[in-house]
């Protein structure tokens, strides 16, 4: 049965589709920069791909980051804090263009498209995902798909927890937010998000050492090991990663205790850690260390803590599995 899974993250859009007996993942950086039409010639000379829309040049994806550096500007991110902004219509158009690039045309009319949505953040006042979800749904409909929103942390369970009968605690450490889902037998029992993620680490660490968050982001993505930080910058990043992990574990415990009357997890379940922020070297080890400090008081029995097989593609893979299920 055809179907496509699309992870709509703050940092990356990733689409997964079956193609000739394999799974094909297409990824594009969720960023853009708009330039005046006068720069068209220069972009052609530098062989930078661009789009022309309403008299403006749009450079999309990874090339937007490089072009932004060239012009000493910041690349724009169409999603803010993990969500579509209702105030920026041109950003919504860019989201549509990016999704069109990675999704392509549907294989059959009205092909099912499972796309990721976050849960409402428990620590952001007035957090609401309805508008975000509706805009993405509209875009996929315009592209010819039959859209179906799925919680992104639940998608991790679909991709990674078949051996535990789709029971587990999925944690997606994204750029804009952290999503958590407790699933039992493929049913979401508890889902929420936190308004802290990779951007929060970058901003906090940048303030701590007096530099820019863009620089901290590049240090973080350059392959540092947070369990053996060597410079002031790396130490600041490691400190904020630890803080985010503690905050996540505390929040899960609090949310579970709050809903305990309605939840029953009879046997130990795994924790699966995923998302781009979890790619930092030593992240899983740090998570395991911090969890051991909380294990005695943690309200759920945990069998193991492991990383997703591919933290950047796990959500898209889970969504692809879900999209091929019959209703």
């Amino acid at each position: 049965m055809p179907g496509i899974g699309v992870d709509c993250g703050t940092m990356n859009f990733v689409a997964a589709r079956r193609n000739s007996g394999q799974v094909e993942y297409k990824r594009i950086r969720d960023a853009f920069i708009d330039l005046p039409i006068e720069h068209k010639r220069m972009l052609k000379i530098s062989n930078t791909s661009y789009m022309e829309l309403d008299g403006k040049l749009l450079v999309l994806g990874d090339e937007a980051m490089a072009t932004a550096n060239l012009f000493n500007r910041e690349a724009r991110r169409p999603l803010s804090g993990g969500l579509v902004s209702s105030r920026e219509f041109d950003a919504q158009q860019v989201i549509a263009l990016l999704l069109k690039q990675i999704s392509g045309d549907p294989e059959i009319p009205n092909e099912k498209c499972a796309y990721s949505v976050p849960a409402a953040a428990i620590d952001v006042q007035g957090s609401d995902v309805t508008y975000h979800s509706l805009i993405l749904s509209k875009i996929f409909k315009e592209l010819g798909y039959n859209p179906d929103p799925v919680n992104e942390a639940l998608a991790i369970i679909f991709a990674e927890c078949a051996t535990s009968n789709f029971s587990g605690l999925g944690i997606s450490y994204g750029s804009g937010m952290t999503n958590v889902c407790l699933s039992y037998n493929a049913m979401s029992a508890l889902e929420f998000s936190l308004g802290r993620g990779g951007d929060w680490i970058d901003n906090g660490a940048a303030k701590a050492v007096g530099t820019t968050s863009a620089k901290m982001c590049s240090i973080k993505e350059s392959g540092i090991d947070i369990t053996s930080a060597k410079t002031r910058e790396e130490e600041a990043i490691a400190l904020y990663v630890s803080s985010l992990i503690d905050y996540t574990i505390d929040s899960i415990a609090r949310q579970f205790v709050r809903a305990k009357g309605e939840l029953l997890v009879p046997k130990p379940i795994p924790i699966v850690v995923s998302g781009g922020t979890s790619l930092a070297g030593g992240f899983l080890k740090k998570f395991q260390e911090r969890f051991e400090l909380h294990r005695s008081t943690f309200p759920i029995q945990i069998s193991e803590i492991r990383a997703a097989s591919d933290p950047l593609q796990a959500v898209a893979a889970g969504l692809l599995i879900y999209s091929t299920m019959e209703d």
Partner: protein, 199 residues
């Protein structure tokens, strides 16, 4: 000019496009706006979303002449716009006479005074438009919100988002392929589980 206090009753943002404001979900800092009468009456967004708004008419704010010392007038109290605790009615300064005619007049005056106080209290609180105990849309999850007819109405969704006329579309995408075996196994396991649940 009278002003109107509008408050978002939804748990989601509400864009009033022609007013140029987005009301944050109810209870939020920006969930309430005060707008003038002209804007209120002319706004199509407000008319379309009236079921999702709590509207209150605020009393006209005008500078009144300062009352003479020792004289307290009802008018000077009406111009207060902020909601404050109800002011207890003051006893009338009438010499009590045992005459039944005077008692009857005093009772009537007392009754009128209570009515005036009630009107003042209403003006201070603002006159609420809408039925008491009006049914609010239930708090629902993303999927339910999308499938409940009418719930999405107040949200501003552009009629078309995907640009149709794009020139020179050539964007670099990173592509990667992997074996489907683990994915197939997971899909089969999920199918089995769903079937078992149905049985």
């Amino acid at each position: 000019m009278p002003r109107y206090r509008i408050e978002n009753k939804l748990d989601s943002n509400l864009l009033l496009e022609d007013v140029g404001v987005t009301l944050s979900p109810r209870g939020g800092v920006d969930s309430i706006k005060i707008i003038d009468e002209n804007t209120f009456l002319k706004s199509r967004s407000i008319k379309n979303n009236i079921n999702y708004l709590s509207v209150a008419l605020l009393p006209d704010v005008r500078k009144s002449a300062s009352p003479k010392p020792g004289v307290v007038t009802k008018k000077s109290q009406v111009s207060v716009t902020k909601v404050t605790p109800e002011v207890p009615s003051r006893p009338l300064n009438i010499n009590i006479d045992s005459s039944p005619v005077i008692k009857n007049v005093q009772n009537q005056v007392d009754g009128l005074d209570k009515k005036v106080d009630e009107v003042i209290r209403m003006l201070r609180l603002g006159i609420t438009i809408g039925q008491p105990g009006e049914h609010l849309p239930p708090v629902v999850g993303t999927k339910e919100a999308m499938r409940t007819p009418g719930y999405a109405d107040p949200l501003y969704i552009p009629s078309s988002i995907t640009p149709s006329e794009v020139k020179d579309s050539n964007v670099q995408i990173s592509s990667q392929t992997s074996d489907t075996s683990s994915l197939d196994e997971a899909a089969e396991a999920l199918k089995r589980l769903k079937k078992a649940k149905k049985v």
